[in-house]
Subunit: 496 residues, 2 copies
């Protein structure tokens, strides 16, 4: 090695120095990370937007980003009460302004009281402001019909992403056949595959059942686990409910079965429940893993380890940019929980404005508050519109020959399966592209519609999908759905 | 393994199930992480505060947290202009209010225009809002006397912490003797040791020279590097300037020498410059690594890889809670830079309010703006007060027999060396505590003053230090300094 260093230094004097950090010398785990939601297709969408701004002629006048679950970017208006309180927190001299409702002021004062120096500008405790953790605990109790939640088991985070990665990080250990394996659904939200690649853990895929509206199938879960045991040590099971990208909402029976399975097989459960407020289908209802676990009684309620994640980015508020989120841990080993707190303290604290925002989400105005009526109306309107858009999406897609779309029971996405003609598949392969990537790129170039190919989330070999959000405003969504359907028909014709 | 699993499952039925995640099965790297700034002493401080609130009698009436560089927690007021703009961004209906200056409104509108859906509530591009990256680039150019900065080389982050960990993550690879080593100063800011432990890289210590006001000594750097080469592959060199916890400001010559050293030895340079606005000592001046590197000309300016970090948490604004920061990379391999962007995209984006705040820091009001006078006055006042507190700290400590305090040339901390009587050292050892931890715990219990023991930052074997911020308000700081000095004298007497 010393000689290699000398060589480099020599090269340096000749002006031909190698870089220290190159693709070859870089962390190999980083190289394996992929993140489709922000991948090449989104890069291309950015370029197209730039070209449009520069006056380049295109067959469309705007790029429509149906690639990411970002409601406000698609024109959804922030909930007034949330922003009023935040403005008061940010700039407390507004507390004397007559333009803010009295409950917003009370709320802001309460939050500021709990901040160091009574300012959002101070670091908080690493696990988050105590008062807010208490409010989160109360929210969980209300949500779960009174089942207690302990603020000490709640850690606020920089979006749910941060908390998910932190819990995964704790779980990773071992080498070779003892390497940690983590079961994730396929299709999945690619944060999971990316984080597992980064952490050098083994991704263990279990396939959701498209024929049964993306239900979680216990037999398939068992198959995945048992096969994986030859290669690694599976230690955790991730469930996304409501599902991203698949939009299903799990039944209570299914959740019970998953919990029983995790318990019997010795798996740590991770429940990604960031879409818990986004349930649209009749007959579907959100059941939290925590509630089901507790209602199952011992030994499950007293022993099964669970981490449940929530976020301020989704729901009716869609405040993605604030990066508010939390994780509740249940039955976690006390020492490990302490280690988790320590780990989080290295990055000091989650963004305090995001914490404040989360507080409003978990303790919104109540009927006796002056802001209640408006808050409730705004909230309902958003959810009603999302619900209508979920139905519309399913209807329109299912009229198109060659497209099949499961009901969008919850979350913010449809994930339709499409048939692609063999010649299109062949052309894609010649171009070195996944067939659905080829489709999505062509769609983008010709219509300006940006959706993410199914290959970015995982899908059964030989099937093709894309993920499209239901977030564009109703009028626009209708046009997008029609354009996309039309494009698929034309594309199929072109390659037949 | 299969049998182990069966055993667990068996145990489960008997109600004696092992946890999946225990200290023994947890990620072993996490276990090695330490983070003194938020360690046991801070935990104890929290408990004491609770006890005081509950009316427990103590020899003090409040806990004074001189343990963390958090200006607003110590009572510093936010800069008005920053909060005005933020309030407008958060709640745009304020844009029609007559209570906000016109330049604040212009600024807010400009930021909102650059946000998806014109809202802080949208995710931004992962590397940060383009407009803000451009403003950062212009700030760097002004700071560095016109040397160009490219917005594409700037990545906004969740505080500087996030960017530092990301760059370290890229650098980590190899095993055994090929494992990445990273040179860090001792004493250091413990984010570095914590991140290296978490990433399983080798921490290579180089000692700052306390006798020369914590100067960086090239011979020591060389010793550290050459010794480390027997054990690992050193690939990066971290420098903190102005220093935390040591408060030194590096001379231009020293920076040049460090750059030459890094170049010759093939080391990636990481310059932690979050205290660039915090320089107090006469004769001291902040020189950015980027500027010095560029002025040195080729091959340094064209080849030496550098990452420079800045933050909205320090300086005159002290907006820690917003988690705004950035890294500028220089001469980074293009492919690696792209990988870094990809890595950041997994967590979606840095908090948008923090990005907005950073924008105001890098493009504050100019002389023709209505807010300029007040902004300038507030900024000057904070920095003048910090400067006075830096001097006072040094003066008071150096009057105490057994305490030696280097000048606080910059940053926000003093790091005095103290003599501890052998019997105190012995007592500490009996208690299983580092001697300076023993001192600091006693100090906290008896005076309510919370400072961090030197052992949390690293120090030469057999020397003892503590880190104390200069952030308490002037009056309080004076009292704290006197109390602490008195306590040291008493402590010395007690154990003589
Ligand atoms: C299933 C799922 N989990 C987690 C996240 C992370 O969201 P955030 O980090 O914004 O809270 C998302 C975002 O789209 C998601 O869809
Ligand atoms: C030297 C140094 N670097 C980085 C940081 C991280 O600051 P932040 O993440 O708040 O930007 C700090 C905070 O105290 C610091 O002292």
């Amino acid at each position: 090695m010393a000689s290699r260093v000398r060589d480099q230094s020599q090269a340096g004097r000749n002006g031909l120095k190698e870089k220290v950090l190159t693709l070859d010398t870089m962390n190999p785990c980083v190289r394996r990370v992929e993140y489709a939601v922000r991948g090449p297709i989104v890069q291309r969408a950015l370029e197209l937007e730039q070209e449009l701004r520069q006056g380049v002629k295109k067959p469309f006048t705007e790029v429509i980003r149906a690639n990411i679950g970002d409601a406000q970017a698609m024109g959804q208006r922030p909930i007034t009460f949330l922003r009023q309180v935040l403005a008061l927190c940010v700039h407390p001299s507004l507390l004397s302004s007559p333009d803010f409702p009295e409950d917003a002021k009370r709320k802001a004062e309460r939050i500021l009281q709990a901040c160091g120096g009574h300012s959002l500008g101070s670091y908080s405790v690493s696990s988050g402001i105590q008062l807010i953790r208490e409010d989160v605990a109360q929210y969980i109790e209300r949500r779960d019909g009174g089942i207690p939640a302990d603020p000490n088991n709640i850690f606020l985070s920089t979006g749910a992403s941060d908390a998910i990665v932190t819990v995964l990080k704790l779980l990773v250990s071992g080498e070779g056949r003892a390497r940690t394996g983590v079961l994730i659904p396929i299709p999945q939200y690619p944060l999971y595959s990316a984080a597992l690649a980064e952490l050098d853990a083994v991704q263990v895929d279990y396939y959701l059942d498209e024929e049964r509206a993306w239900a979680l199938d216990l037999a398939e879960l068992r198959r995945a686990l048992y096969q994986a045991r030859d290669l690694c040590r599976p230690r955790a099971l991730c469930v996304i409910n409501p599902g991203n990208p698949t939009g299903q909402v799990q039944t209570r029976e299914c959740i019970e079965a998953v919990i029983r399975f995790a318990f019997e097989e010795g798996l740590f459960l991770m429940a990604d429940e960031v879409y818990q407020d986004n349930v649209y289908a009749e007959g579907s209802e959100f059941h939290s893993f925590k509630k089901v676990l507790m209602e199952m009684g011992p030994p499950y309620s007293t022993q099964q380890e669970l981490a449940s994640f929530h976020s301020a980015s989704k729901g009716y508020m869609g405040e993605c940019g604030f990066r508010g989120g939390y994780v509740e841990v249940v039955n976690m080993d006390t020492d490990v929980q302490q280690q988790m707190g320590k780990l989080m303290s290295v990055r000091l604290c989650p963004p305090v404005p995001g914490q404040a925002l989360l507080d409003m989400v978990v303790s919104p105005p109540t009927p006796s508050d002056p802001s209640f009526a408006q808050f409730q109306a705004e909230r309902r309107e958003v959810l009603a519109e999302l619900s209508a858009k979920a139905k519309l999406t399913e209807q329109v897609f299912n009229k198109v020959p060659g497209i099949h779309c499961n009901p969008v029971q919850g979350a913010m996405y449809s994930f339709p399966r499409m048939q692609l003609p063999p010649r299109a598949v062949q052309r894609a392969q010649e171009l070195g592209l996944a067939p659905d990537m080829f489709f999505c790129l062509r769609l983008l170039e010709e219509t300006g519609i940006c959706v993410v190919p199914g290959s970015g989330f995982g899908q059964r070999e030989g099937t093709y999908h894309f993920r499209m959000t239901i977030l564009p405003p109703m009028d626009k969504l209708r046009k997008v759905l029609e354009k996309l359907s039309h494009f698929h028909t034309e594309f199929t014709r072109e390659f037949s």
